[in-house]
């Protein structure tokens, strides 16, 4: 008999902060984290000493971890977590921070995802990314995850009849959303023709299937709803959250993700269903993964992803708003901040801070996380349903 999982009632997420992205920076991650914390304090009116919990995700802090950051930036938290899980870190930081607040181990937790990007950062990160990447995929020359996701995309296309145009639809609609996001790195519209004729990277992956690595940070605060109201902060509440690692390990090639394992529980926690959601922020390292999230998070059946995207417009004003900030494909991927991008955008959408790209009357949204490609697939998945306060 499964133990009943505690709800996330009473937890608020607030103060969405973005440190603007740059392509390359000579600064270290500490600089971007510092800027994110400054932004959180400025927007919330809190003092630095008020932050008594820190949940941090970054790949470029080495040899430091979250520990070094406390001394570097002059924090003295009573709760600390270093969550280096890339694209899943936004969801995972939130889940851990929420429990800490509920248990009273911390009152105000700053959740920050930040990375710098030097000209050779990407290559350096890859070489030491994981044992299995070093031993079994890095030697094969892709110089990154492109060839792995090429395999996944190719297999998915062959199995379910998806075409490049189907993936193009996702990228094109996200770009339209990005035009309403002043922080997005890409400022020009993208047509399906341009998407299709872009140069191949590792076929069937072409240029606009790939995110652009950059430097930057995303951050938010987790506290009790009571505290948020007391501070007068616009906030969202956590209706449900799941995570799963190394799911479906026996699948020879990835065609489904860990969300599928626990998604029924996610909706049960939130007492809702897929059709009730007003927007999703999928993790879009590659369009094929966004499509898998549509399937595995219950918006359509497995294999119906292509039909689904053909039948919907995924812009913030469309029938199925997805990645309303433009997602990583259009906003850029600032390392681990890519795992926070969707969460920060969801908070903006639910607190009326999304400007020109606001989803009309957004009440409920889902943020999915996916990350840590170690060998032939990503290992971490997660999802959170956020809603407006009652």
């Amino acid at each position: 008999m499964a133990r009943h999982r505690q709800s996330y009632e009473g937890v608020a997420v607030a103060v969405p902060v973005t440190v603007p992205y740059v392509r390359y920076s000579t600064r270290t991650a500490h600089w971007f984290i510092g800027q994110a914390l400054s932004g959180l304090l400025q927007a919330s009116g809190l003092k630095k000493a008020d932050i008594d919990g820190l949940s941090l995700s970054s790949f470029s802090l080495a040899p430091d971890t979250a520990v070094g950051v406390t001394q570097h930036l002059g924090l003295s938290p009573r709760w600390l977590d270093h969550v280096p899980t890339g694209g899943a870190s936004g969801v995972m930081c939130l889940r851990r921070a929420a429990r800490a607040v509920q248990a009273g181990d911390a009152d105000i937790v700053a959740c920050v995802g930040a990375d710098t990007n030097h000209v050779d950062s990407f290559r350096q990160t890859l070489g030491s990314f994981s044992n299995f990447a070093r031993d079994a995929s890095y030697p094969y020359g892709s110089g990154g995850p492109n060839s792995i996701f090429a395999f996944i995309t190719s297999n998915y296309m062959r199995t379910y009849g998806a075409t490049r145009e189907d993936f193009g639809r996702i990228a094109v609609d996200q770009r339209t959303n990005a035009l309403g996001n002043p922080h997005a790195m890409f400022k020009k519209p993208l047509s399906l023709d341009e998407y299709m004729s872009a140069r191949p990277i590792s076929d069937p992956i072409h240029l606009f299937d790939c995110v652009m690595p950059c430097a930057g940070a995303e951050a938010f605060l987790v506290m009790s709803e009571e505290r948020a109201r007391g501070l007068g902060l616009g906030h969202a509440v956590v209706r449900g959250a799941i995570e799963r690692h190394n799911a479906f390990a026996d699948d020879p090639v990835m065609f489904r993700g860990g969300w599928l394992v626990d998604r029924d529980e996610l909706y049960a926690q939130a007492s809702t269903s897929p059709d009730q959601l007003d927007f999703v922020q999928t993790y879009d390292d590659y369009p094929v993964i966004a499509m898998m999230q549509f399937e595995d998070l219950g918006f359509c059946a497995k294999g119906e992803g292509p039909a689904f995207v053909r039948a919907h417009t995924m812009t913030s004003g469309g029938t199925f708003p997805n990645n309303t900030s433009g997602g990583q494909l259009s906003a850029g991927q600032a390392g681990a901040a890519g795992g926070f991008l969707g969460m920060v955008e969801a908070i903006r959408q639910l607190t009326g801070q999304a400007g020109a790209r606001s989803v009309p009357d957004a009440q409920l949204g889902l943020v999915a996380g996916f990350g840590m490609v170690t060998y032939d697939r990503c290992l971490c998945t997660g999802a959170v349903i956020l809603g407006r306060p009652a």
Binding site: F122, R123, L126, G127, S128, N131, F132, R134, D135, A136, S137, Y138, P139, Y140, G141, S142, G143, G144, N146, S147, I148, A150, F151, I152, S154, N155, R158, R199, P200, I201, S202, D203, P204, I205, A249, P252, V253, Y375, D376
Partner: protein
């Protein structure tokens, strides 16, 4: 069908010679088990001794039952090709210089999923494929997806050629052409399509026979080379070092003495002076030029072969000083391998058992014929193997040595062969 390799055009001498960028060379300790097997031409994966699960990538504990009793076992490599992709972009310098490059994702019948370099003759997915392991230019094992049935020019696949040292269209130095083994090696190289074979010979007044026959071959050029004479080595390196693609050091002195059977050190010194110091002189003089040309076109510098002996592993007391000199040469050859590695030059060590020549007259058969040894060397170059144990005696001694070297030492000391 693979396009057969054509003889490359003459190089434009005013252009800078392309330098070697190695493919990613880091591997954890456990993963080096793959490299150790590929060095001998085998594709091995860990198999759990308790539940039988085959593991990949290599690891410390069974991914099914957590047992730590993981054994490396040779794999047949049969599998299904799930996905292919062609790299058109890479941040890695080695691959960036060699685009486009084809990769595949294979579901091995034995269980795991493998990322592999794909041979050009493997069709698009889905389909059957056979996986093997080869050493790449960094000297580390990588997995290769081969077609089930390869065409006639399979070996000329550009990806596969980066893993091998085929003598075809290459220029080779054989350091001693005066022995039967040397002459057999020369013939085998000519047959394998080498453009030029420089054949070294020392003490031209000592005629052992056979040299005239091979010097009649159009590819062969005799060159004076005395590995005991530093100046001889320096001068030859000055003349041809910049053109040599493969060095095959087969020069050796072999006497049949242990310690007590021969007073004085002169026989042992003669053995060391060629078998060990000869290698040192040769490597000092020919090494740098070889390293400088390791990425020089499709038929650039590629390999260094040392003719050692299975006695390098465990001393054969009746040929005790010879064994010691070969052990010294083996150790130095390992040093050479480490020094050649940054340039992507493969050092091939050959450990034959007794060769059927005048110094092994008293050794009972099986003995290795010169032609067999020569063919084993050419095959090792073609297959990219770096540790070669040709012949039944070498294979058996290797097994006994790996099983328990102390037991082998006793067996040999008791007069066993």
């Amino acid at each position: 069908m693979t396009t057969p390799l054509i003889r490359p055009k003459r190089k434009n001498p005013v252009l800078r010679t392309r330098q070697m960028n190695l493919p990613p060379s880091g591997r954890g300790r456990v993963a080096l088990g793959l490299t150790a097997a590929a060095a001998e031409g085998r594709f091995e994966l860990q198999t759990c001794a308790d539940c039988g699960a085959v593991q990949y990538p290599p690891r410390e504990a069974c991914c099914k039952c957590l047992s730590v009793r993981l054994r490396w076992r040779e794999q047949p490599g049969e599998g299904t090709l799930l996905s292919t992709t062609t790299l058109h972009h890479s941040n890695d310098l080695f691959f960036r210089e060699r685009l486009p490059w084809r990769l595949g994702l294979v579901h091995l019948d034995a269980g795991p999923t493998l990322m592999v370099h794909l041979h050009g003759e493997v069709g698009d997915e889905p389909g059957p494929v056979r996986v093997g392991a080869r050493l790449d230019r960094a000297g580390q094992a990588v997995l290769i997806g081969y077609p089930k049935n390869g065409g006639a020019h399979m070996a000329d696949d550009t990806m596969l050629r980066e893993m091998t040292s085929d003598p075809k269209f290459r220029k080779v130095l054989v350091t001693d052409g005066k022995t039967e083994v040397g002459q057999a090696i020369v013939r085998a190289l000519v047959k394998a399509g080498a453009d030029i074979v420089w054949v070294g010979h020392a003490e031209p007044w000592k005629k052992l026979g056979g040299l005239e026959d091979i010097s009649a071959l159009p590819q062969v050029t005799l060159v004076p080379l005395d590995l005991t004479n530093g100046r001889s080595v320096t001068e030859l390196a000055g003349e041809i070092g910049g053109k040599v693609d493969i060095v095959i050091n087969n020069a050796e002195v072999h006497r049949t003495f242990g310690i007590g059977a021969r007073r004085g050190t002169d026989a042992a010194k003669a053995e060391m002076d060629i078998n060990y110091f000869g290698l040192l002189r040769l490597a000092q003089e020919f090494g740098p030029a070889l390293k400088g040309r390791s990425a020089d076109g499709a038929t650039g510098a590629t390999a260094w072969v040392n003719l050692l002996s299975i006695y390098a592993l465990a001393n054969f007391p009746p040929h005790g000083t010879f064994s010691a000199s070969k052990a010294a040469a083996h150790s130095l050859a390992q040093c050479l391998r480490a020094e050649m590695r940054p340039a992507g030059i493969r050092v091939v060590n050959v450990f034959p058992g007794p060769i059927d020549d005048e110094w092994n007259q008293h050794v009972p058969p099986p003995k290795l014929a010169s032609g067999t040894l020569a063919n084993a060397i050419v095959k090792a170059l073609r297959d990219g193997i770096e540790d070669v144990y040709p012949g039944d005696v070498a294979q058996e001694w290797l097994e006994r040595w790996r099983d328990n070297p102390k037991v082998l030492e006793r067996e040999l000391a008791a007069g066993g062969t």
